[in-house]
């Protein structure tokens, strides 16, 4: 199980057409330039790089929200190009969990409702939904916030709600885009601890985009991006502090 590749990309390219470029001629911007890597099950992989290097774009492509311009993305060995949009939706709903920097919670729904959205969209029975929501809320200390609306919560609380939502369908892969980016150190620490626990105890594969070396040091492997290309891959040694310093050094080189 450990050696199975959950995600594999070959020559992955993603270009964007810049409509609002200063240059009046529309320009094609090459954001991802032929990436090759794989993520194995139960790995905790970090994607790092400077702003604008294509981290979020990569995450969107890996999360099957966006399509690659060229190259191949395999999810569980299946070529994503051969999948129909509803199949992609099914994968996102059942096999992936998303955590965003801006949370993307629905203010119209309560905390409880927000968490159960993926289950509800999967036509899960009401009883199962309620039980699972209660389980995760208790696990992440959100029981007292059940009926609150997201806009009544702190940043850390909102992100924990987002984590619960990401876990509710028992996904194989969790994609996190700067999950601690909008949080203070304390809240950030709670979130990263939760993610570590999810990876280690719940055996979930996590792919996290971050620019914070401290958060990245919790990952088992780091993919360093520069100008849309993989600059280097760093593997974590047993000593987390040493790994952190290595990441800091590498980031300074970028």
């Amino acid at each position: 199980m450990n050696n199975q590749e959950i995600i594999k990309v070959e020559d992955l390219t993603r270009n964007y057409r810049m409509i609002y470029a200063e240059n009046p001629e529309d320009r094609e911007i090459k954001v991802l330039k032929g990436l090759n890597f794989a993520v194995k099950t139960e790995e905790f992989v970090g994607i790092m790089g400077k702003s604008g290097c294509g981290k979020t774009t990569l995450l969107k492509v890996l999360g099957l929200i966006d399509k690659p311009t060229d190259g191949t993305l395999y999810f569980n060995g299946v070529d994503s190009r051969k999948l129909w949009s509803d199949e992609l939706a099914d994968i996102r709903r059942r096999k992936m969990g998303f955590i965003f920097q801006d949370f993307y919670l629905l203010d119209s729904l309560s905390v409880e409702d927000n968490i159960m959205v993926p289950m509800v969209l999967d036509k899960a029975p009401v009883k199962d939904c309620l039980e699972k929501v209660a389980y995760y809320m208790e696990k992440f200390g959100l029981m007292h916030l059940t009926k609150k609306k997201p806009n009544e919560l702190s940043g850390g609380e909102r992100q924990r709600v987002a984590i619960c939502r990401a876990l509710i369908n028992d996904p194989e892969l969790i994609l996190a885009d700067e999950p601690t980016g909008n949080l203070d150190t304390q809240s950030g620490q709670i979130v990263i601890d939760a993610l570590t626990e999810i990876n280690e105890k719940m055996k979930k594969t996590i792919l996290m985009v971050t620019h914070d070396p401290k958060m990245a040091s919790y990952c088992s492997r780091i993919i360093l991006l520069k100008d849309g290309q993989i600059l280097e891959e760093l593997k974590r040694e047993k000593d987390q502090d040493a790994f952190y310093h290595r990441i800091v050094d590498k980031m300074q080189e970028l």
Binding site: Y20, R92, Y104, L106, S108, L109, D113, M116
Partner: protein, 882 residues
């Protein structure tokens, strides 16, 4: 192999049957000559022996006696038959050869030859002309069948293969997309909660839909209500009938509704997509997503219709009350029937459909991140050809104004549309030019925060400004002018100086003498000629469509002066600058001040009217060139006036006065003798002029009658008999009559004016309302962004007063800039309309005195709304401070 063999059999079978019929037909006697029907070869034999004597009387005159052409056709015919026989023999010998194109080619050549010469002119039956066509069809059919047999097996296999593939695809789709079970109540609960939180936006969308529904229902209902009264039904063909007035107002309103619906839908869908993008990311199925969207829009449609019908019925009730109070029993109002309900439903559906199609690009993008940032994305400012496009915009505006000043453009709303296009270009490109200039100036940084909105949202701002300007111009000028002009129009009675106007013939003299004797009526008779013009309506008929010609009254200069004198005893005759050749005419447009200025003739490129002396020649068309010179001549307008000398019975569309010089008029009275009444050509040979067949005299007397009011009914009865005698005069155009009565016309005119006033005021009010609604939507759609900006400004230490000033400055731009353009356009175009409608200074002054109230009211409501909206916006944006 077996299959191939069997196909060959089929090919031979088709070929043999096809060409056997072909050859039998080719020998069939279809040509009718003097002594009966003959075959192709029979005709040749007879012509060779007897020449033209073999032909019928009518063909003898037509055939040119050219045997050479006949021989060529016979030669080709022989070759064609030889090839056909050869093909047939080869087929029977089981050897298929592809030689049919030779047969087809010859048959086509023969067909064309027969159309113009040779065999086409020797027989007078239709089949003689058509002889080769069945051969062409048969040979083409045979060829097509042969080709079909060739590809039949392949096509069959492909079709079966396609079916199997389709079935496999279906099965695969079923397998891959299988999603059993039903959504639980939690799903509906969530969707409902989400919908409830969107209610504010949905309410706006619904409100807009109800407004569109109301306008559609009340407009159509009002039209139906009026359609049974007076000449509303005729008005569809021309003139200023009630229905026409309503339709003229409803078309721009429909355009505004569509525009508004698209605007609101864009606003609503953007927010909707932003919400549902989360669901898409979390893996909602497309079917479920589109069901939710479809339900929301579908329910919106249903409630818009129901709301529209309810409110529309209220509007109709109000309309009925107002009309009833204003004209009492003079007008017969019917009720809105199921037609109104059904047609308004179709109209609303169409508006929804077009709006959804216009917003489809928004709906197709469910990207979570771009959906969240779409509302704040910077809009690209144009960079190239700014000066050129600005000049083009100004030129379009100038062209619109100049064209509007031409009477033959009939104060067209399309010229207003051109003006709006020009104004948009000025806003978008001229505005960008100014902004770029401003950016390069030293004071740029000082005004950056105040004007940032214009840079950041240049496209949206230009669209809003152009839309608001267009709405204000429609409200303040175009429709306001129509309503105010009613208030300055002459009294209906004064527009009909005579109780009856008759268009009569010499032999009717007795009828009028009897009227004089029996009722003591004062009968005045003037000589006249019927005048026709080549196009009666403003509609552009195009090449193939028949034009309805207009009919006017032709009089002499002396008659004109006499008519003027009869109305105004102080009138002093003046020279009208007319010529003896009749090339110059003086026109009296018999219409009132509230009717749009219009030309006598509407022929395309109608600077000079196409005027024919005489009754309508039905065969005349401006596109056909006769060998003789046509009598429909373009004549120069030496002068014109708007007024009433005999009565405004057809609102300036028909029965206007065309004045010729006395010298020409005498000639004109006899022109009918040399004018071909069939097509309007000159008749040169005297023998060709057969009275009643090729030449026909039209009415000759213009009879004007005044009598005592108590005798009107009796005189009318007499005139109905007179009209019955000349009913063929109405055969061409039902709007033309031999007598017109003042009483009915006064009643019609009064109701038309009332209708015009109500409808145009309603449209003006609607334009004002739509413009306010538009600004309201703009404010709502930008509220989030403005909130964030206010937070930023507060953090940066900007004072509240300054923040509010920026906020209100952006809002007030939507008032003063369109307002300034509207004021300018209104002033210029009102002046132009004064000119084309030939208003006197006193009328102009009276118009302005009346219009000031309407303009003032409009501006006041707009100002009040802006003030309230400003308060609302400040409260919403600066809420934290309070």
């Amino acid at each position: 192999m077996q299959k191939k063999k069997s196909r060959r059999k089929e090919k031979i079978c088709v070929g043999v049957i096809g060409y056997a019929i072909f050859l039998i037909y080719s020998m069939w006697p279809v040509y009718r000559l003097r002594d009966g029907y003959h075959s192709f070869y029979g005709v040749f034999r007879l012509l060779s022996q007897k020449g033209a004597a073999a032909l019928t009387d009518s063909c003898r005159d037509v055939w040119d006696g050219n045997m050479g052409a006949i021989k060529i056709q016979v030669g080709l015919f022989v070759i064609m038959q030889i090839v056909a026989v050869l093909y047939l023999i080869l087929l029977i010998l089981n050897k298929y050869r592809y030689i049919q194109p030779v047969v087809i080619g010859i048959a086509i050549t023969e067909m064309f030859l027969s159309d113009y010469a040779a065999y086409g002119t020797v027989a007078d039956n239709v089949m003689a002309f058509m002889f080769f066509m069945p051969m062409v069809v048969m040979s083409l059919l045979e060829l097509a069948l042969q080709k079909m047999i060739d590809v039949y097996d392949e096509a069959l296999a492909r079709s079966r293969n396609y079916e199997v593939q389709e079935q496999e695809k279906k099965e695969e789709a079923h397998r891959r997309l299988d999603f059993p079970g039903k959504y639980t109540k939690l799903f509906y609960h969530m969707i409902w909660k989400n919908f409830r939180s969107d209610w504010k936006d949905y309410r706006l969308f619904l409100f807009c839909g109800i407004m569109v529904g109301t306008l559609a229902f009340s407009g159509l209902g009002a039209y139906e209500m009026l359609s049974s009264s007076h000449r509303a039904d005729l008005s569809m063909y021309g003139g200023e009938g009630l229905g026409r007035i309503l339709i003229n107002a409803m078309i721009p309103l429909a355009a505004c509704c569509l525009f508004l619906m698209v605007f609101v839908l864009i606003f609503y869908l953007r927010k909707w997509i932003q919400n549902y993008s989360i669901f898409v990311t979390l893996g909602i199925r497309r079917k479920a997503l589109w069901t939710i969207a479809g339900l929301e829009i579908g329910l919106g449609f249903v409630f818009s219709y129901i709301g529209g019908v309810i409110v529309g019925n209220g509007v109709l009730l109000l309309f009925r009350k107002i009309v009833g109070n204003m004209v009492g029993d003079q007008i017969n109002l019917s009720y809105a029937s199921k037609t109104t309900y059904l047609v308004s439903l179709a109209v609303l559906f169409l508006v929804y459909l077009v709006s959804l199609m216009a917003t489809r690009d928004i709906v197709s993008d469910f990207n979570l991140i771009s959906a969240a940032t779409r509302n704040v994305a910077k809009e690209k400012m144009p960079r190239r050809f700014l000066k050129i496009i600005t000049v083009i915009g100004a030129a379009i505006c100038g062209y619109s104004a100049i064209s509007y000043s031409k009477i033959y453009n009939y104060e067209k709303i399309t010229l207003m549309l051109a003006l709006f296009v020009g104004l948009f270009l000025l806003y978008r490109f001229g505005g960008t030019l100014l902004l770029r200039k401003d950016k390069a100036s030293k004071g740029y940084l000082g005004t950056l925060l105040k004007r940032n909105d214009r840079y950041h949202r240049s496209k949206t701002t230009a669209w809003y400004l152009a839309a608001l300007t267009a709405l204000h111009i429609c409200g303040m000028f175009y429709f306001a002018f129509q309503s105010v002009s009613v208030t300055v129009a002459e009294q209906p009675e004064s527009l009909f100086p005579y109780d009856f106007m008759c268009i009569s013939y010499d032999e009717d003299q007795k009828t009028f003498e009897n009227l004089e004797k029996q009722y003591g009526a004062k009968v005045t008779t003037y000589p006249m000629v019927r005048i026709s013009n080549s196009d009666k309506t403003e509609k552009n008929e195009g090449y193939y469509e028949k034009r309805i010609q207009g009919q006017q009254i032709g009089i002499s200069e002396s008659t004109y002066h006499a008519l003027k004198k009869a109305i105004d005893p102080d009138y002093k005759p003046h020279f009208l600058h007319l010529d003896a050749k009749g090339e110059k005419v003086y026109l009296v447009h018999q219409q009132d001040r509230s009717v749009k200025a219009q030309p006598i003739d509407w022929t395309f490129s109608k600077k000079k009217p196409n005027i024919h002396v005489g009754i309508v020649c039905e065969g005349y068309t401006p596109y056909e060139h006769f060998s003789e010179e046509t009598t429909y001549q373009q004549r120069t307008i030496a002068g014109e006036e708007i007024g009433s000398l005999t009565g405004c019975f057809r609102d300036g569309k028909l029965e206007n006065l065309v004045v010729f010089s006395d010298a020409f008029f005498t000639k004109a009275q006899n022109l009918w003798k040399t004018t071909n009444v069939l097509n309007g050509s000159f008749i040169k040979k005297k023998t060709d002029a057969i009275e009643g067949l090729t030449v026909k005299q039209g009415p000759t007397k213009l009879v004007l009658i005044n009598s005592k009011a108590k005798d009107h009914k009796a005189i009318k009865r007499e005139l109905e008999k007179f009209q019955e005698k000349h009913k063929e005069d109405q055969a061409y155009d039902a709007e033309i009559a031999n007598y017109y009565a003042k009483d009915e016309s006064v009643k019609d005119l009064r109701t038309e004016r009332m209708m015009k006033l109500i409808v145009n005021l309603f449209v003006t009010a609607t334009m004002l309302f739509i413009s306010m609604f538009l600004v309201y939507i703009k404010v709502l759609s930008e509220l989030d962004e403005k909130n964030k900006r206010a937070e930023f400004f507060t953090c940066m230490g900007m004072r509240k007063k300054e923040r509010i000033r920026i906020l209100l400055g952006e809002l007030h731009l939507m008032f003063w800039l369109p307002g300034a353009f509207t004021a300018l356009v209104t002033a210029v175009f009102t002046g132009i309309t004064f000119y084309v409608r030939m208003y006197t200074n006193a009328v102009k002054l009276q118009f302005i005195t009346h219009a000031v109230w309407l303009w003032g009211g409009y501006i006041l409501v707009e100002l009040l709304f802006m003030w309230l909206l400003g308060k609302f916006m400040v409260r919403k944006v600066e809420k934290d401070d309070e």
